[in-house]
Each structure stands twice: as structure tokens, then as C-alpha cells.
Subunit: 184 residues, 2 copies
DNA sequence: TACAGGCGTTTGGCTTGACGAACAGATCCT
DNA sequence: AGGATCTGTTCGTCAAGCCAAACGCCTGTA
């Protein structure tokens, strides 16, 4: 056994989301098409629901599936321009700063990219299913898959598969962009 | 019944992730502590796994739980500055453009925010567990939880819980920012 | 050819989740 | 008081998930 399933977290999440929706146990069970005995046991921490059951509950609660299995947690974080961990790069005229690393379950990283005009910054394919999102803040850039890059200006948005070779390059003047790297 | 559970998606995801990991069905079943007959049926689309079973498979595959229940998808998308669906707002000097809506499973939206100086744009709490990430592109803004907002300049990054009242306000001059709204 | 060892499938039995009904407690109304 | 109608719980039955073992298929090797 690699790791125990979070059955008690599911129980807690179910109670939490149900009360938030203002539903009684009976009502939720009825709407979801689940026996209220089943739901009662689940909220009690007893039981190991099938995907079908949990899916029905999640959809009628209007919450994504993983809310019921993944833990919560937030906080306020500020990273000032120029601060934050810089990602190593081959050449100095390109910097990527990691603003928010993928917490388990969120599967995405947020970077601030700044690049001087000149050499392109080509990237090897990432994990299959990875998608990158770019919003340009300043300057003009050429970005996207190596075989069909797109020219972007301030405010432009681009998303493309990250599991193929892709590029990022500042045109004319220094450029900056926010990049969201989304792992499947 | 509110909606059929994505049992065939789970089947497909299992096959996909397993082959990506370079594991045989037998090997994965062995490592996960699951009978290979069970896994075989699951990958065949037959069956309705319990949370325990699916959890064991997900963790040994090293992927988050929701990868197995939510769909994939990529593509190249460009939204030029000023285009894209604008989110309705109370007052006209604040615009939020939806760049990438949360595909089921990714649970995050990407917005481009522009605001004129003046009235603050306060938001009511979102779904519990929501986290917002802001990277300022231009101008100076005051953003964050209503009771402890933070002043930000170009390149600054801020993240804060979205499930409490929060605000966004341009100081002095027009400001723009990229906002990632991450649902749990 | 024969055999060993990998693969993914199908089969029978045990275990257990899901269901409906019966249950006790709490309001509320007559 | 006595229904009436909620709440959430527990119990017995049935269906189904899970497991181990046996099976057929293919590949490499003696």
C-alpha cells in the first residue's frame, strides 16, 4: 500500500461543502440520488465511496471533484519585482522568476519572464499534457510552438501545448510577460 | 442522478498515465497493491472503483488524484489585447477579460485586469479555498484582502485567499495586471 | 520443439459498498 | 397532548468491487 486514502478528509469535506450549500443530509442525498444512509456513513468517516457515488455528490454540490479529496490552505504572499527565485538560464539576457510553485494538486507554476531582444529562448518539450499560457506585459515577443510561433504585444494572451519544442524571444526591445505553466 | 460519472475517462487516463510511466499493467497493480484483475477491468472501462483503489493507483503513478477523473486538452490560442470576453463590472473604469476559463480539472481562470484610478473594485468572497494570484504589468495598484491590502508596482506578485472579501484598485494612473484565479 | 517468463484477460468466491426501511430525536402546528 | 414532518442514525438485504488463481497469448531461449 503506497499511502492511505484520505477517507476522513473526504468526510470532513463533505460535511463542510454540504453545510456551506445549506443542504441537509437528507436533501443532498435525495438530490444526488444517493441513499442517505450511504451519505451518513461517508460523513461519519466510515466507508470507502465509489467514484460514481462521490461524483454524484460533488456535482450536486457544485464543486469540482478534487475539492473532496484534496486539502485546503491559503495565505498572502508578496514577491517584489526583481526578487524571488530566478530560474537558471543558458544566457543572461533571459530571466524567469518563479512566483508560485505548483502546490500538490494545483499543478501549475507561475513565472515572470523578462527577456532582452536577441537570441531566442527555446525550450525542450515538457511533460506530456503540459500547457503554457503567456500574457505579455511589455514589449513585443515571438512565442509559441517552434513551428508556428506567434507575435505578441502588450496585453496579448497566448496558450499552447508545452509538450512540444517551443520558444520565447523578445523583439526589438526588452519584453516581459507572465507565464503560467500548467501541468496536467 | 445529476450526471454520469466519467468512468471511461478514468479508464483512458489510467492507460495514458500508466504507459507514460512505462509500467506494465501487472507491475502497476503490484506496486499499488491492487489486484491486476481489478486494474484490467478499470482500464477496460468496466467497473466503478472505490476511492481507496483509485487513490492507490494515483499515488503510485505519481499524479494528483484529479488527473484520473478530469479530461486533458491543449491547442494554440491567441487573444489580442482588447479582444476576448469582458467580465461585466459595476463601473466602467474597471475591466476584466477572461483569457482562459477553467477547463474541468484545471480549476483556474486567467484574467487580464485593467483599471482606471478611482473607486476600488471590491469583490465578495468566492468559493472556499479559492486563491488569487496577481502580477502587475503597469501602474500601481492596491490589492489583496480588504483588511490588509498591499501596494504593488510593475512586476510585483501577490497571492491571497479569494474566499474572503478582497479589493483591486488602481492608484494614480491606469493600471493593468494578470490575475490567476485558482479554485481549489 | 519445449519450456520459461513476461504480458493482459477472464473466472469464482469473499468482502463490502449502496440501498431501503425502520428508528429515535427535534421542531412546529392544531 | 398528538400528529406531522423534518433531522440524522442504524440494520438487513442485495448487488458489486476486489482479490487470487487460472487462462490464453506472445517472446526469447535452450
Amino acid at each position: 500500500m503506497p499511502e492511505p486514502a484520505p477517507l476522513d478528509r473526504i468526510a470532513a469535506a463533505l460535511r463542510r461543502e454540504r453545510t456551506r450549500a445549506g443542504l441537509s443530509l437528507s436533501e443532498l442525498a435525495k438530490r444526488a440520488g444517493v441513499a442517505k444512509s450511504t451519505l451518513s456513513q461517508l460523513e461519519g468517516g466510515t466507508g470507502n465511496p465509489s467514484v460514481e457515488t462521490l461524483w454524484a455528490l460533488a456535482t450536486t454540490l457544485g464543486v469540482p471533484f478534487s475539492v473532496l479529496v484534496d486539502p485546503p490552505r491559503p495565505a498572502v504572499t508578496v514577491i517584489r519585482a526583481g526578487e524571488g527565485p530566478a530560474v537558471p538560464s543558458e544566457h543572461a539576457d533571459y530571466t524567469a522568476t518563479l512566483l508560485s510553485a505548483s502546490p500538490p494538486g494545483a499543478r501549475r507554476d507561475i513565472y515572470l519572464i523578462t527577456a532582452e531582444p536577441g537570441r531566442a529562448r527555446d525550450s525542450a518539450p515538457h511533460q506530456p499534457g503540459t500547457v503554457e499560457h503567456v500574457v505579455v506585459s511589455a514589449g513585443r515577443v515571438l512565442a509559441g510552438p517552434l513551428d508556428e510561433p506567434v507575435e505578441l504585444g502588450p496585453g496579448d494572451y497566448l496558450s499552447y501545448p508545452g509538450d512540444v519544442p517551443h520558444t520565447f524571444r523578445a523583439l526589438r526591445a526588452r519584453a516581459s510577460a507572465v507565464m503560467l505553466m500548467q501541468h496536467v
